[in-house]
C-alpha cells in the first residue's frame, strides 16, 4: 500500500514537472509573441500610429487676422473687414445631386446650370460661392446638405462707399490689394491666418493649445491717411454737383495743406463703389489726380511769373506790351482768350487778366534755359513721390528738344502736361514761402491701437525765395479781387488763385479742339497765412467752359466749408475767445 502510494507520488511529481514545463514554454511563447507585437507596434508602426493618435486628440484651429483697417486723419474708418463664409462642395460626398444643386442655387442665388456643372466635377474641392452673405449661409446650413462645406473668410468692406474710393482702391477675391492705397500698402495691410494646434477630447471639444498664443506679432498694421473725411466729403459733394450741372466728362479736386504737403482730400468724379467695383467701368477706377496728365492752361502762368520774379528779371509793376491781342511766332498766330485785345499791362495785370501774350513776353524775358530750370524745380516732369501706385510724371520735353514755339506755348500752359498733384504741389510752394513739399497721403502706421510710425513732412527743395513768394501771393490775390477769379472770392477771407481754361488736344485731328476744354481753378486761402491749397479741374464741361465760371465756384464752396471746419474764421464773423478758467 505504502509502495503504491510512493509510486503515485512519484508519478504525480513527474506529471507536475511536465505540466510546469509545458506552461513555461507556453508562457515563453506568449511573452515572445507579446514582445514581437510590441516591437511591431512601437518600432515598425511607430510613425503611423503616432500620427493616428495625434489626429485623434489634436486639431488645428485657424484664426484669421484680416487686412488692417484704413482710417482718415481723425481715425474715422474708411476700410475694414467683415467676416463671411465661403461655400464649397466635395462632389464625391453628394448623394442626391439634383436636390443639392436645386437647394444651392436657390439659397445662394446662383445660376442652376452652373451649380449642376460644378456638382458633376470629378474634383474633391469645388468652390460654389466665395464670401456669401451671412443670411444666405445661415439658411443653407439649416438644410444640412451632405458634401457641402464652409470656410470662414474675411471680406473687405468700405463703410463710406464712394468716399475717397479712387484713393483707397480695392482688393481682389483673395484680399490682395489691387489698386490705390490697398495696393501700395499691401505688405503692411495684408491679412494673415494663424494656425494653432489644440488638444481635443473624445467628443472633439477643444481643450487647450499645444503651444502658447503668439497673437501680438501676427496682427496687421492699420493705416491712418492724411485725408479728412469731412473735407473729402465736401470736396466730392461740390465737385460732383458741378460736373453734373455742366454735364462734364469728369472732374478732379485736391485739397492740400501747403506747409506739410498733407492731402486732406482727393476727389475724382465719376465715382465708384469699391464694395462692388466690378459693376463700374474700369476707367472710373483710375485716380486721375496722379495717373493722368493734362495741359494745365493758364493755371501754369504763376510758374512763369515766379521764374521772372525770382531771377530778378521782372517786378510785379513792370509793364509788358501785349500786342493788342495778336502775336505771331513763326507761322503760328497766338491770340488771347475771348479775343481780348490787351495793350500795355503790368505783370500783375497779365496774371490777373490771364493774358497769353503777356505770359509769352515774361517767358521770353526769362529765357528758355532758366524757365526750364524753374519748371523742373517746381517738380514738373518728375513723380511727386506720393505713395500711391500708377503715378505719372507728366510730359515735359527736354529743353534741348524745344522748338521755336515751345517757350511761348509752355508759358501759358500748353505743350506741357502736368498731373493735378504736381500742379497743386507747385502752387503750395508759392503759398508756403517757397518750399516744395513732398505730397503725403499717409499719416501713420498703427498696431494694436498704438502709432508705430508717423510719416513726417518732407521738404524737397526751396524753389523760390520768400520775397518772390510774397510778391506772387499779392499778384494771385489780385486775380481773385479784380481779375478772372472773382467767383472764387470768399466773404471775409482773402483768396489767392488763378483760373485756367485749356483747349483739349485732339489726337485724331492733331490739333486743339475748339469745343472741348479743361476748366480749372487753383488757389489758396487765407491768402496771407494759407491753410489750404485747392485745385479744381473739370474736364469738358458743356455750355460754358471758362475756369472762372465752371471751376472757381467749386473752389469757393470747398474753401468756405473746409475753412469753417478747420476753425478759420472770416473777418465777417463774430469771434469770441473764452478763458476756460
Amino acid at each position: 500500500m505504502a509502495k503504491q502510494n510512493k509510486q503515485t507520488a512519484g508519478t504525480f511529481r513527474d506529471g507536475i514537472e511536465g505540466r510546469i514545463k509545458v506552461v513555461s514554454v507556453l508562457l515563453f511563447l506568449f511573452g515572445a509573441a507579446l514582445i514581437a507585437r510590441l516591437a511591431f507596434l512601437q518600432i515598425i508602426q511607430h510613425d503611423t500610429l503616432v500620427a493616428k493618435s495625434e489626429k485623434q486628440y489634436l486639431s488645428t484651429v485657424k484664426t484669421h487676422f484680416g487686412r488692417g483697417i484704413i482710417y482718415d486723419r481723425n481715425l474715422n474708418e474708411l476700410a475694414r473687414n467683415v467676416e463671411t463664409e465661403s461655400v464649397y462642395i466635395n462632389p464625391s460626398e453628394i448623394f442626391d445631386r439634383k436636390a443639392t444643386a436645386r437647394i444651392l442655387s436657390a439659397t445662394l442665388k446662383l445660376d442652376p446650370d452652373q451649380v449642376r456643372k460644378k456638382i458633376s466635377s470629378k474634383k474633391h474641392f469645388v468652390w460654389i460661392k466665395r464670401k456669401s452673405p451671412l443670411h444666405e449661409v445661415a439658411e443653407l446650413k439649416k438644410s444640412g446638405l451632405s458634401g457641402v462645406g464652409y470656410v470662414s473668410e474675411q471680406k473687405r468692406f468700405y463703410p463710406k462707399r464712394e468716399l475717397a474710393a479712387s484713393v483707397l482702391g480695392f482688393v481682389g477675391m483673395d484680399n490682395q490689394g489691387l489698386a490705390g492705397i490697398e495696393h501700395a500698402y499691401q505688405a503692411k495691410l495684408k491679412g494673415a491666418t494663424f494656425r494653432q494646434v489644440m488638444e481635443r477630447d473624445a467628443r472633439g471639444r477643444n481643450i487647450q493649445p499645444v503651444e502658447g498664443l503668439r497673437n501680438s506679432n501676427l496682427r496687421n498694421y492699420d493705416l491712418a491717411l492724411t485725408l479728412d473725411e469731412v473735407i473729402q466729403f465736401t470736396t466730392e459733394y461740390h465737385l460732383k454737383k458741378q460736373v453734373e450741372h455742366f454735364k462734364a466728362d469728369s472732374g478732379m479736386a485736391v485739397v492740400m495743406n501747403p506747409h506739410t504737403g498733407e492731402i486732406y482730400a482727393m476727389a475724382n468724379v465719376p465715382q465708384f463703389n469699391p464694395n462692388r467695383y466690378g459693376a463700374f467701368p474700369q476707367q472710373v477706377w483710375k485716380n486721375n489726380i496722379i495717373a493722368s496728365s493734362y495741359e494745365p492752361g493758364s493755371i501754369f502762368k504763376p510758374i512763369v511769373a515766379a521764374a521772372a520774379l525770382d531771377k530778378g528779371l521782372a517786378r510785379p509793376q513792370d509793364i509788358f506790351f501785349c500786342e493788342n491781342g495778336k502775336m505771331e511766332i513763326g507761322n503760328v498766330h497766338i491770340g488771347e482768350a475771348s479775343d481780348h485785345k490787351f495793350g500795355w499791362l503790368t505783370m500783375r495785370d497779365i496774371i490777373a487778366k490771364s493774358s497769353n501774350i503777356g505770359a509769352i513776353k515774361i517767358a521770353q524775358q526769362v529765357g528758355r534755359e532758366p524757365f526750364y530750370e524753374y519748371i523742373r524745380k517746381f517738380g514738373f516732369g518728375e513723380k511727386s513721390g506720393l505713395s500711391l501706385p500708377g503715378e505719372s510724371k507728366g510730359q515735359l520735353k527736354e529743353q534741348k528738344a524745344w522748338n521755336k514755339l515751345s517757350l511761348a506755348s509752355i508759358s501759358f500752359g500748353h505743350e506741357i502736361a502736368v498731373t493735378p498733384i504736381q500742379m497743386v504741389s507747385a502752387l503750395a510752394a508759392i503759398a508756403n514761402g517757397g518750399n516744395l513739399m513732398e505730397p503725403r497721403i499717409t499719416h501713420s502706421l498703427i498696431k494694436d491701437g498704438r502709432v508705430i510710425e508717423q510719416f513726417k513732412p518732407e521738404k524737397i527743395r526751396r524753389v523760390i525765395s520768400e520775397k518772390t513768394s510774397r510778391q506772387l501771393v499779392e499778384i494771385l490775390k489780385s486775380v481773385v479781387k479784380t481779375g478772372t477769379g472773382k467767383k472764387a472770392a470768399l466773404e471775409g477771407i482773402d483768396v489767392a488763385g488763378k483760373t485756367g481754361t485749356a483747349q483739349k488736344y485732339n489726337t485724331k485731328t492733331q490739333s486743339y479742339s475748339k469745343t472741348e476744354f479743361i476748366s480749372s481753378f487753383i488757389g489758396f486761402a487765407p491768402a496771407d497765412s494759407p491753410r489750404l491749397v485747392i485745385l479744381v479741374m473739370i474736364d469738358n464741361p458743356k455750355g460754358l467752359h471758362w475756369g472762372s465760371v465752371v471751376a472757381a465756384p467749386v473752389f469757393r464752396e470747398i474753401a468756405k466749408k473746409a475753412l469753417r471746419y478747420l476753425n478759420v474764421p472770416s473777418s465777417k464773423e463774430r469771434v469770441f475767445i473764452l478763458d476756460r478758467a
Binding site: 475694414r80 467676416e83 466729403f233 469771434v575 473764452l578
Partner: protein, 105 residues
Amino acid sequence: MFDGVNKLAKSWLHVSSKDLWMAISISILFMLGALALVWPNVKKIKLAYEYQDLAREHRVLLKENRLLNLERESLRSLDRVHRLAKSEVGMKEPGVGKIITIFLK
C-alpha cells in the same frame, strides 16, 4: 473599529494586525498621492473647458461687435447724414453773419 480590523487580520487574512495597519496606511498614502497627482490635471482640464467656452463666447461677441461697428460706420456716412439733414430735418447752412466762432483758451 480597531478591534474589527485586528479580528479581520487574525481570523481572515492570517496576518498580524500591525502588518494589516501598515498595508492600509500604505494604500491610503498611495491613494492620496494618486489623488494629488490627478486632481490638478482634472482641475486644469475643467478650467481649459471653461476657457474654451469663454473664448468661443468672446469670438461670437467680437463678431457681433464688428458687425455693429460696421453698421455704425455705414450709418455715419456723411453722404447719408447730409441727405437726411437736408431732406428730412430741413436743415440749412448758416450764412456768414449767423456764425459765431468761439475759441477756448
